[in-house]
Every structure is written in structure tokens, then in C-alpha cells.
Amino acid sequence: MRMRILGATVLLAASASLASAQQLTPSPTLDAVKARGNLECGVHLGLPGFSFANDKGEWTGLDVDYCRALAAAVLGDAKKVKYTPTSVQQRWPILQSGQVDVLARNSTITFSRNASLGLNFQGINFYEGQTFLVRKSTNAKTAADLDGASVCVAAGSTEEKNASDWFRERNLKVTITNFQKNDDAIAAYDAGRCDAYTAGVGALAGQRVKLKVPDEHIILTQPISNDPQGPVTRWGDERWQLIVRWVLNGTIAAEMLGVTSANVDEMKANSKNSEVRRLLGAEGDFGAMMGLPNDWMYNAIKQVGNYGESFDRSVGAGSTLKLERGQNQLWTKGGLLFTPPFQ
């Protein structure tokens, strides 16, 4: 009997040590980030609302905010990010060759990229998709309401093909008016020659600001294509992938749980919700399980804010782009934004 208990204890101890060893498998990327004292983040060269340098030369935008949150979680300081602007041709090689630790650059998640490029997508920080820009006076709420309308597009573009296929499949009579270039198409729309103009949600937000009276136009929130985007990492170094994924999840969870940069201190001290307490490091050792300080998400929320705050100030109501949340709303509020629980 004693032998058996002893055996069980040994087994338990062994499995416990195995567990802790598993928890901290080596993470060369994390070690490198800590040693260098800053996060290397690949971003877009310039995309309104997502990543751009403002008049003061500071990088700003929704993707940039993700980089800042990650830096705050890993290094405790959202300012410790170095940005590498990347062109569309160089974005994958720059990540594959290890010149950046993470890529947050409006890149659509697809099967073939995931399977053949040696890259992993760590979640969705923006649901992109082709949709329509219409005048408020048309009262159209979804693409299906465009029956009988005309749409301006650039001839031969993916958008043209997507739109005409979509309307044909649904037997909707929509006139597609072709133009040589995108700029011509949007100008024709602004001049009133068509009822709608079509492009991705993010692109439309940037285009709408250029119109004569931006307030007279709305962007339909239900897209007709599916191009989710999120942070990307290389294959290998699972612990780093874990961190990249759960920092994104953490910013979404914070919005879900009502934690903002303004109330994070109060929430950490007084909240009775144990998921909030685990998220902010008041309970459980969630940071330590990844080799981070337990206040990792506290730092990210305190310094950068939750997903909703980022969205609002970079592309949403608090910005000049005035994009509606649409699919990028929380799943509890009719959107698609989702995070697994912090348990």
C-alpha cells in the first residue's frame, strides 16, 4: 500500500514536472524579442486606417495597434515596437526570413497560403469583404436591395467578376457599368452616374472620405465575399504562436468583458468576474504559462485598449473613416468577432 502511494506520488510529480516543462518549451522568437528589447512588426506601407505614419511620423492604425498590444504584453511597453513597412511582394519573404517577428498587414487568410507558404494565421482582427458604397437616399440596406440599380466598377477587376456573379446567381437585375480604372469608376459614382460602387470594406472607407459629401453615402455592412485578415507568424516556435494568438484574443475578450483602458485598474482590483480576473492577471497564472508576466493583458489593455477602442479610433466612429462595426462587431452583438474563453 505504501509502495503504491509512493509510486503514485512519484508519477504525479513526474507528470507535473512534465507539464511545466511542456508549458515552457523554448521560444527562440520570444527570447530574441526580449534580448533585443523591441518587437519587430511587419506592417502595410500605407493603408488608411490600418497602418500609416501620421504628421508626427508615428505609426498608427488598427494593425499597428495590434503590434503595440503585443509589445505591451511581451515587453510591458507598447512603444517598444519597430515597424518594417512591407510591400505586397515582400511581405511573405520578410516574415519567412525572420526579419520580422509577426506580420500584421491586412493579409487575407486562405487555405493555400496557410498550407504552402510555411505561415500560420493567428486569428482574425478584421473581417474584410467586398461590399457596396451607396447613397443614403437609396435606402438600400443589403446588396439584395440593389435590384434594378447600376454599379460602377473597373473593367476586368476581381470586384467586377464577384459582383456580376453574385447578382446573376440571385437573379437580380443589376447593370454593371465598366470603367477603365478604379478612379474613373468612383468619380462616375460620385457624379451620380451609378447607384453604387463596389470594393472591399476597408478600401471603401478610404474612398468615401474623398467623395464630395462623404456623409451622404453609406457602406453596406453585409459583404458578398469573405476575406478575413489577421496577424501572421512563421511555422515553428509554438509558444510564440500561442502568444500572438492569445494577445489578439485578449483584446477581443476585454471588449466582451467590458474592460477598457479607462477602467482596467478598477476592474483588476474589484471585478468579481473570474474571467476578467484571469485575463488581467489577478487570478491564475495565465501569463506565466506562456513565459510572460501575469499582467501581460493588463499592460496591453492599459496602454493600447481593447479591440473596440482600437477599431473606433483607427477606422471607426472616432476616426475620419467612420466605418461601421458590421461583421467586426462582437458575436454577441450581431457580428463575427469571437474569442475562445480565458479558462
Binding site: L45, F52, A53, G57, P85, S87, Q89, Q90, P93
Partner: protein, 346 residues
């Protein structure tokens, strides 16, 4: 009254009915093109203010250029360190002027001294270290970066070009073959491919620890391509030189290096100067290709600034402004080369 007694301009523009008609038609076309541009750029333009909302007159919104002027000039270079860029520019400019106006006998020595001292000094001032705050090359940008790439690429290209031009005429078959291979290879590869390879493939091939700076890789790649073109320009000069020059030098007892350095090259370089300036002007414009690897030169920073939602839609202003600067640089260069040519003829 004979037409000869008319003032010269009237003779030229309205000498015959046919020239008169051509003049009038061209004047109309010019006015038709120029008036809207002038209206947009000057008359209806907005000059004062700080935000997009200040642009109400309908013409160009130069407020945007004013707000972003620092970035157009220095990229994201830290504001409190920008004096270092200015200082570097002034040192280079003063040195070049000093060499041009130095007495003949000092000119060669001053030129060589500048070649040895200036490039490292410039890099130290811009990049920092050794007492100055380090500024990474990713923060460089704008006009400063365009000029940096142009100057440092040609610092690689001109000596290499001269060496390979001489090598191509060498009596030694191996040297001739190497030179021809180098020139033909780099002339045959598109610049954009070179920049791409230098920026993307090198890091994949080289072992992890060896990180050559991204900008340095682009500058070296560009330098090699231009070197091949420079070599051909110099070869033109060498071939234009009567063979009697070298023969006479040899007859005077000068060896190959002395004959080349003292007799052949000085004359050949003068002959090829216009062609070399051409290559340099092409180089200044080719620097914009570094945009494909996201190095923010003048054009790159112009494009990047269009992404700021606060200024979205300023395409015309950004491109007009950066285009004007490129034009100014290239125009100044071509005037300078014409000046040198005319001096040579005297």
C-alpha cells in the same frame, strides 16, 4: 516694308502666313493646357492652415505639403536629430564646390581626400554611433534618402565603372573576360530584379546572424548596375581618345598605370562626362525603384503619406510636389554637365 526689317521675334513667329498659323494654334494649345494647371496650382490653391478642412478654395491643397514637409525631406528621421542631415548635406555641398573652384594643382589632391573622408563621415553623421545617437536606416526617408542612395550608389559605381572600362580594354585575356562578364551581366538584369534579389533573397540565403542593412543591400545592388552602365560610358571616352596619346606616353617612358592615370583617364573622363551625367540622372530617377522593397524615398514617402485618413485624396499634390523636386534635381544636374562641357571646349 520688307520682312527683314521686322523685329527678330516677329520674323520667327509670324514670318510667313504658315508660321503665323502654327504659332497661333500652338499658343492656343499651350493656354488650354497651362491655364487650368496654373489655376489649380497657384490661383485657386490653398496655402495657409494646418488641416484638410482649411482647403476650401478648390485648387491644390499645399497645406498638406506644408504639414508633411519634414517627412518629405527627412522621412521618419527623429525631428531633434534632423540637423545632422542638414549638416551632412552642407558638408558635401561645400566640399564639391570647394573642389570645383580649387586651384588646378590642388584639385586632384582635394578630390581624393574628399573621396576618402566624406563617405564615412556622411554615414557616421546620418547613422550615428560613436557619440551620436544611432538612427536606424528604416527611419531615413524622403529627399534625404533619395540623395543618399544616388550619391552612395555612384560612389560605388564610378570607381567600379572606370576599373571595368579599363579592364575591358586590357591586354590580359582573363581580366578582359571578367570585365565583359561583369558589365554584360549587370547591364542585362533589370534594376527592379536586382533590388528585389538583394532585399529578399539574400536574407534567405545568408545564415541567420549575418544581417546586412536593408538600405545598404539596395545601395550596393543599384551601385553594381550603374557601374556597368558607367563602364560603357567611360569606354566610349577611352575609345574616342586617339591611340597616339597612350603611345606618346609610353614613348616618354611612363608605365601603364602612370600613362593611364596622367594621360589617358583625365582626357577620356572629360569626353565621357556628358554620358556619365546621363547615367547619374537616370540613377536619381531609378532610386524610386527601392519602393518595391518599402524603402521610403521621396516618392515612397509621398505615397505613404496618402494613406493618412487625415489627408486622404491628396494624390495630385503629393505627386506634383515630389515630381517637381525630381525635375529640379535632374535639371540642375544637366545644366551643370553642360557647363562643364562648355568649359572643356575652351
Amino acid at each position: 516694308m520688307s520682312s527683314a526689317s521686322l523685329p527678330l521675334w516677329r520674323q520667327r513667329l509670324f514670318g510667313t502666313p504658315a508660321t503665323g498659323i502654327v504659332t497661333v494654334v500652338l499658343a492656343f494649345v499651350l493656354a488650354w493646357v497651362a491655364i487650368p494647371i496654373i489655376r489649380w496650382a497657384l490661383i485657386d490653391a490653398n496655402w495657409v492652415g494646418t488641416t484638410r478642412a482649411d482647403c476650401t478654395a478648390g485648387g491644390a491643397c499645399w497645406v498638406f505639403i506644408r504639414a508633411r514637409f519634414g517627412q518629405f525631406m527627412y522621412g521618419l528621421y527623429p525631428v531633434d536629430q534632423r540637423w545632422r542631415v542638414d549638416l551632412t548635406g552642407i558638408i558635401f555641398l561645400v566640399s564639391v564646390l570647394g573642389i570645383v573652384f580649387a586651384p588646378q594643382r590642388l584639385r586632384l589632391r582635394a578630390g581624393l581626400a574628399a573621396l576618402v573622408v566624406l563617405p564615412p563621415l556622411g554615414i557616421w553623421l546620418l547613422a550615428g554611433g560613436f557619440g551620436l545617437r544611432p538612427v536606424e536606416t528604416r527611419e531615413w526617408g524622403g529627399l534625404m534618402l533619395t540623395l543618399f542612395i544616388s550619391v552612395y550608389s555612384s560612389l560605388i559605381a564610378i570607381p567600379l565603372g572606370i576599373i571595368f572600362a579599363l579592364g575591358r580594354q586590357s591586354q590580359l585575356r582573363v581580366i578582359r573576360l571578367i570585365s565583359i562578364l561583369f558589365i554584360e551581366f549587370w547591364r542585362g538584369v533589370p534594376i527592379i530584379a536586382v533590388i528585389f534579389l538583394a532585399s529578399l533573397l539574400l536574407p534567405l540565403i545568408l545564415p541567420g546572424g549575418i544581417g546586412i542593412d536593408r538600405l545598404a543591400r539596395a545601395v550596393i545592388g543599384l551601385g553594381f548596375v550603374i557601374a556597368a552602365y558607367m563602364a560603357e560610358a567611360v569606354r566610349g571616352g577611352l575609345q574616342a581618345l586617339p591611340s597616339g596619346q597612350r603611345e606618346a606616353a609610353t614613348a616618354l617612358g611612363l608605365n601603364y598605370w602612370k600613362a593611364t592615370g596622367l594621360i589617358v583617364l583625365p582626357q577620356a573622363l572629360r569626353i565621357s562626362l556628358p554620358a556619365m551625367t546621363n547615367e547619374f540622372i537616370a540613377l536619381v530617377k531609378n532610386t524610386t525603384l527601392v519602393l518595391v522593397v518599402s524603402i521610403l524615398d521621396l516618392l515612397g514617402i509621398a505615397q505613404a503619406s496618402l494613406a493618412d485618413p487625415a489627408w486622404v485624396g491628396m494624390n495630385m499634390e503629393a505627386y506634383a510636389f515630389s515630381g517637381a523636386i525630381y525635375w529640379l534635381i535632374c535639371f540642375a544636374l544637366s545644366r551643370w554637365s553642360r557647363h562643364l562641357e562648355s568649359r572643356r571646349r575652351l
